[in-house]
Symmetry: C2
Subunit: 248 residues, 2 copies
Amino acid sequence: MIVEGLTMSLPNVPGVPLYVQIREALREEIEDGQFVPGQQIPPEEELASHYGVSRMTLRRAITDLIDEGFIYRRHGVGTFISHLQVNRDHTRLTDFLEGAKASGLEARVEVLKKEVVPANHQVAKALALDEGVEVLHITTLRIVNDQPVTLHNSYVPRALLGLLSEDKLAVSSPWLLLENRGMKIKDALERLEARGADEEQAAILAMEQDDPILYKERIVFAEDGMPVEFEVCYNRGDKYSCSIILRR
Amino acid sequence: MIVEGLTMSLPNVPGVPLYVQIREALREEIEDGQFVPGQQIPPEEELASHYGVSRMTLRRAITDLIDEGFIYRRHGVGTFISHLQVNRDHTRLTDFLEGAKASGLEARVEVLKKEVVPANHQVAKALALDEGVEVLHITTLRIVNDQPVTLHNSYVPRALLGLLSEDKLAVSSPWLLLENRGMKIKDALERLEARGADEEQAAILAMEQDDPILYKERIVFAEDGMPVEFEVCYNRGDKYSCSIILRR
DNA sequence: GAGTGGTCTAGACCACCCG
DNA sequence: GGGTGGTCTAGACCACTCG
């Protein structure tokens, strides 16, 4: 709990910005339930002197927590704890195996095909390449609890292959490998549709033809706005759903 | 174009923060193509003196544009124009009719049913109410270019009905009406699935039974984190897709 | 080392909400 | 009017990148 009139001694971790330390300290207090939903937290002036920082620095910490949905501000009134904390990870780009592991699911990936092909119209457009330019195409089957869930296709510009280690390819998402090599991944644009399974998809995913499939395509962008990967995947409708957050 | 060594005379609009004016001025320059993708923009120090503001204020404007994906920063290097500007509206909560109008589509809404009912388990859970508590349930059909696209169900806690004008209900989204009444809408949590149409849905949406449906449910939250509306909708798979942005 | 963005200060004044 | 958050300053020093 925050004790008034006392300057908090922050651990003073070297190399970690003050606003990060304060943000995490506040986040911990909120998650520990030291504030109840709807409760007002002390004014910025008071929190600033409490932590021994300027108000601007404190505000930076608060603003981060607001972006995460933990608290909200009302001009002229105060700063308050949110009533429900929605899991903001829903609108985060995450790797399949990482995400499954975090959810406590037993998951694995089987590589079905790995080849260099000329980009067709759809792939070329997504990756901002000319049609016919060579791309790496990887087809995998994603399996959760021993049941096939997703038939997955990934396309990567051949020009980026120098950055990828051949052995890990397909197990990790290509964009994650690129990130591990120092490339900054910014975001991804996804499009979702409901479709019926064709004969091949049905066979691979152990379902009947025309059974519902959640079709998803995704373009992954680096920080400079260039597409680095295009994915097309077919998800069993009865075993896969997609959750997201839309901001107003 | 930005002329160096000259302090820009901002319109000095009263009531509009400087960082907003600068942000919009910069956005305009970028959208007008006065910077090419990948191009470095002047350093913060220079831009600050150019606009006659402090560097902190300028950074606030820049940071907003980065959040929108127009530009990106590289520590120790500079600030640059992004190569591709993805339409960020995709991860925004928007009203159906507003959105259709913005896309230039002819769209309308038909009200099929409007009644007060006790909340079932699913609705109660979504709206953080006890089962059996009364809620308003509105069923509508959303029609684009004279073709039915979405069978839509909306649930609103009865306690909020005082804020809603009866006549406009159903035409506008309930959350939009609440917003127009001064309530701050923060965000929405959506879940998407692929399903097959049942007999009733198929009849209403003019499709065959078991044809692909994009099922979507959505909880809309106010700024304080409380749910204000729950939606369940069935979208024709061949006429509806959903695009979103995932941040890394 | 020069140039860039990242963090931080110690104030100031304004805008908003409420009793 | 008193209390709150919103904006803004004019500096300072640090961290990173690159030639």
